[in-house]
Symmetry: C2
Subunit: 379 residues, 2 copies
Amino acid sequence: MTKPARSVEFTLLHEDSGGGDARRGRLTTPHGAVQTPAFMPVGTLGAIKGLTVDQVASTGSEMVLANTYHLSLRPGEAVVKELGGLHRFMGWDGPILTDSGGFQIFSLASRAKVTEEGCEFRSHIDGSLLNLTPERAVAIQEMLGGDIAMVLDHVIALPAEENSVRDACDRSVRWAERCQAAATRSDQSLFAIVQGGLDGSLRRQCAEQLTKLDFAGYAIGGLSVGEDPEDMYEAIEQTCPALPRDRPRYLMGVGRPQDLLQAIRRGVDLFDCVMPTRNGRNALAFTDGGPLRLRNAVHRLDARPLDSSCPCLACRHSRGYLRHLFQSDEMLGPILLSHHNLTYYQRLLAAARKAIEEDRFEPFCHDRMAGWESSAGDD
Amino acid sequence: MTKPARSVEFTLLHEDSGGGDARRGRLTTPHGAVQTPAFMPVGTLGAIKGLTVDQVASTGSEMVLANTYHLSLRPGEAVVKELGGLHRFMGWDGPILTDSGGFQIFSLASRAKVTEEGCEFRSHIDGSLLNLTPERAVAIQEMLGGDIAMVLDHVIALPAEENSVRDACDRSVRWAERCQAAATRSDQSLFAIVQGGLDGSLRRQCAEQLTKLDFAGYAIGGLSVGEDPEDMYEAIEQTCPALPRDRPRYLMGVGRPQDLLQAIRRGVDLFDCVMPTRNGRNALAFTDGGPLRLRNAVHRLDARPLDSSCPCLACRHSRGYLRHLFQSDEMLGPILLSHHNLTYYQRLLAAARKAIEEDRFEPFCHDRMAGWESSAGDD
């Protein structure tokens, strides 16, 4: 019996030979290909906050993420389905990944109660009682219709007792298997999520168990929840070698530019994070010299753009104008800085991909880190 | 002695022969030409709220307005000048008109006190005591550097006693003369503002006095301040014939689509209003069948665009998606509807210009009015 072809395939194009584990790949989906390492802007409610889909595409973004938890509450997956599925709903014709809602249930919802069956929680909007099982998480995501769906995982706060971490980790594996059994769409592929907290041995065990289940891709979940960055890097380093070389590796919800490079060095292919857009809305701009806070008075009469080499919409204006927009609460400030920061992330990833192709990711990484630590920024 | 060439010139291209006073013209400025009748989006603080300058241009807008009162408070005209003037500051390379601040002083500032010299008022932001004279209004606008500057006028609330209207009207003429004497920039032209409330005789007198002063253009001010639309139309009808045929006529701060057409019938060439953007931010979309309120539940599952013939960014999406954006407080809702409404206004004006060229403005006007009154909208 031949295995059915997956709707999402990963091709490992090159491994950097310069010392680290950085990889260059290509992820093909029913809605086009994504060059990896790749960063996905977050479109929580079916919109990347403040930007039109054309503007998102113009940052160099190839795939976006949408949140199942949020969309199932508003407008509801049935509405999204009725309006043609997520791609048509958002007007984004490229690849879309939906998360499972697991992370939001544990971070946003109140009084989440986990049983082996699934979890019960209250909506953060109106307090209504809801529940999510692995089967339901898949069903919702199939109605949303993203190219990649995520299994429901049991996320816990860190630090936690070993027993709790192991328990959540084992449950996540059982839930992943139930998700796999529940999936029916041939045009959607499922990624598993490795849990295990900061315990390297648990992370490896979880990765190995999930690998046996043969998923289209593997995520590293439950990180960037308040732990020290070095601990996070260590957990990534423990996990990646236990994952199959020919499948994409996705670090969920991370992170700062330096976190992306540190994770790429350790073999991660895919990222998502609200940081570029959220920080942009809060007047923080990423630059090679470190972050700039546009509300600072020092920018008042500054005629320079944030970055004279940046092709984004914000960099057609002076820092003084951008500061004025934030000081005056003009929507255009958050819009322009969201576009700048996403462009910054995508240019960083494009440069990282090129460095990997040329086997110089380690020196590239070192140089970028040095720039961010130079404090040319005003953060 | 030959008169110095004006930096802003109006060419009357055609007068509709179908019964009304609609005119087709062209306004040339140091930053390009504007086809009239024309509508200017309002960029109060040097930004059309929620839209990038490219998006504003893509609506068909050729000239924008910025508010002197607001910009002189934040960031201050010196900052705008230091950052290269309004065009560079905003990144808008087309024509810009700045108002004089007169209207805002009487509508926004508190405790405005008028003397012959000028007016004293308190900032609506921090309550600081400020004053504005005709000379200072010109000086600020010269620092801002728009293509067209407006004289400082004395605006009063309507209805008002005849004596107060006449007094404010006479003062506005004297102030206009002082503004003219104070103007120094050869690349900026000054428009006068006709006052006179709803008194046709005062309006005509004011128009005649200002006409003798020979301005580059003439505005009709002090309307749309709460009076009945029919009274406003009547005031316009009284004023226009008293203005020189070869100069542009600008109706300040007006208005609804029907107001624009009623004013064009009476010979107005130029408009500005916050309505398309402000209403867009509040989930109201203009359509040929009347306004649609996107928060209404009726749009929840509606897969149709607002208008299938509209090329705007909103009309690539379903009404259901637009409703979802507003229900979820996503910035993209206000952004998309601002773009739609400005596009609606600009397409309306483009159609009006074509109708005038073809001497069918009266039937065009009648048809459009009938559509808006058909209540196909849900307002």
